[in-house]
Point group: C2
Amino acid sequence: LYGLDNLPYGSRVGADGRRFAAVRYGDQALDLSAWESSSDSGGALFADGSLQSLLAAGPDTWADVRAGVVSELSGPDASAHLSDLADSRPMLPFEVADYVDFYASEHHATNVGRVFRPDGEPLTPNWKHLPIGYHGRAGTIVVSDTDIRRPCGQSRSADGSIGFGPSARLDIEAEVAFVVGVGSELGTPLAVSALAEHVFGVCLLNDWSARDIQAWEYVPLGPFLGKSFATSVSAWITPLAALSQAWVAPPPRDPEPLPYLDDSALPAALDLSLEVWLNGTLISRPPFAGMYWTPAQMLAHMTVNGASLRTGDVFASGTVSGAERGQRGSLLELTWNGTEPLQLDSGPHGFLADGDVVEIRATAPGATGPIGLGEVRGRILPALG
Amino acid sequence: LYGLDNLPYGSRVGADGRRFAAVRYGDQALDLSAWESSSDSGGALFADGSLQSLLAAGPDTWADVRAGVVSELSGPDASAHLSDLADSRPMLPFEVADYVDFYASEHHATNVGRVFRPDGEPLTPNWKHLPIGYHGRAGTIVVSDTDIRRPCGQSRSADGSIGFGPSARLDIEAEVAFVVGVGSELGTPLAVSALAEHVFGVCLLNDWSARDIQAWEYVPLGPFLGKSFATSVSAWITPLAALSQAWVAPPPRDPEPLPYLDDSALPAALDLSLEVWLNGTLISRPPFAGMYWTPAQMLAHMTVNGASLRTGDVFASGTVSGAERGQRGSLLELTWNGTEPLQLDSGPHGFLADGDVVEIRATAPGATGPIGLGEVRGRILPALG
């Protein structure tokens, strides 16, 4: 899953406390910072141990570095800059600028509508006209394997009373996120065709959600504290260059999107196969290829009002859910708001319990077989007492 | 308005292209970067010309720098580091981390409810239980005097058809913003009493809003493109130390806020008197003292779920509107959604026209008279063709 046709990027800290930029190759990390300083390239892309400079450098540099890494790893001798992944731990590989979360799965949005508005139309009138999105909290995005503290907050009981305490309906959202490398000018919209010029790569994202806090706060300005306590991303960013085999046609859209959202000239959907694991049990297989809105449309929509991008911006798909029950990307859907618990070997399971470990994995078609997207994993800690 | 009891901070670029951190004193700028390097303090707070390091340094340093500046400006000789404001132009003085916008004026929220839901309760059920807020786009915050390009986007006509084009209902929101200096730990809520340990100062903010885009997109996840094209902030940040005379009791709250929002031990409201000027005509005088939710409550609420703060976070009040018609902080309210145009000398005026210049000013009680908050100003450019 992590061969020469994949080569995702990350940032690590070794046992000596030194931070370095890395490429994953099998179960090893190629130390890009050491590799760069030992070469005669004269570059300083990785001097700070992060991917920040690489992201900003743009597609030509992305291609050059990838070619150099392939060459380093496919030479007759093993690279001197490889170490076992177990010898280092991941860090967030770049500084998140703005974080936008979309709501691009028709199945997810429909399920949410049915749960919360059983007598109404499941989709809002705008849903098929534009990719609905909102800004999340960039400063609480954490790297995979960071523990997640159960949040406290206000919620309203069925009897209408307002309470305060630890969230009792803590949930996951299995998502795919896009990392912006090259920014854009304020006032200048980007076309759907601009994705590869601006987006460096893809990672997995778990948008932890406190459904009780969210339900009470979100009208009229949207989710806030129900989401902002933490959002986890995978430690590895798969560059778009590794996903060249993964583009497929999106599902049919009706009504026809407005011209600025017309992605019919592209194979605009990404064929990623997600898996959601709860305490070691596979509980869902959400398919990303069937998302109603594509990443190119998200990019075009997000900038159509002239909003600029910055290096480090992250935009995510929203919960990935397929048409079938076993393809839903949140416990809200998988347990139908807790009324239909999952049946695990350990017993029935509703929303997240303290100590639960959630892991989201994914694969994509690669040149010679499936490639892996770095997993995103987190464990729930009890609320502060 | 800009005497020794005020001394707000900013960042400037001179005619030679050099960037420097500055304090405003009358109509002059004290060059903090030059002052620091000419002193024997050995400090490097202002070496990069921004306020970033000052913000992060915390209350003791804030007090030390302020005392040093007062000493420099009140000596027998004029400081060698003063220049006319006209000789330099403002820059955004720090890098915005996360931007949260609240909705803390009862009069504003009530007016908006009456305009859009004339037959319903104007306030949502949650409004008096928690300060409603959402995340805005940090990367499109611009400094005062940056021109604002009219955004394009989707909207729905009265007949239900979906159109695309330049916003026809471009608006302002006169707000007060709080700039975070000292960050906090993920997982650790902050109390209402923590404001002065974390917040460096206050500025004015204009949350430009495209009402037609916003109305179509905002259900269910809140405002997005209707706001994200630009948000203007004043060039000067007034430190909390200059506002010691400005704290007053907030209005009575009913129901009693939950304990984590109890600010009754503080004089938690800030007595700022705002003015909104449109093309040189004073059109509103919003009073900040009467805001239902106070900045201390915003801080406590924003972190009660464990969300962390970072240096450069900005949180804003939402539109400041008072009880009277002449105290409303948006054209949506001042013109009652365009149905009651303002009567200016130039004729009737609804939402913003191309070429309009909006300026928001404010004063606060100081030790020896009113002190000024730096104005926030912007001019509307026509949409891209």
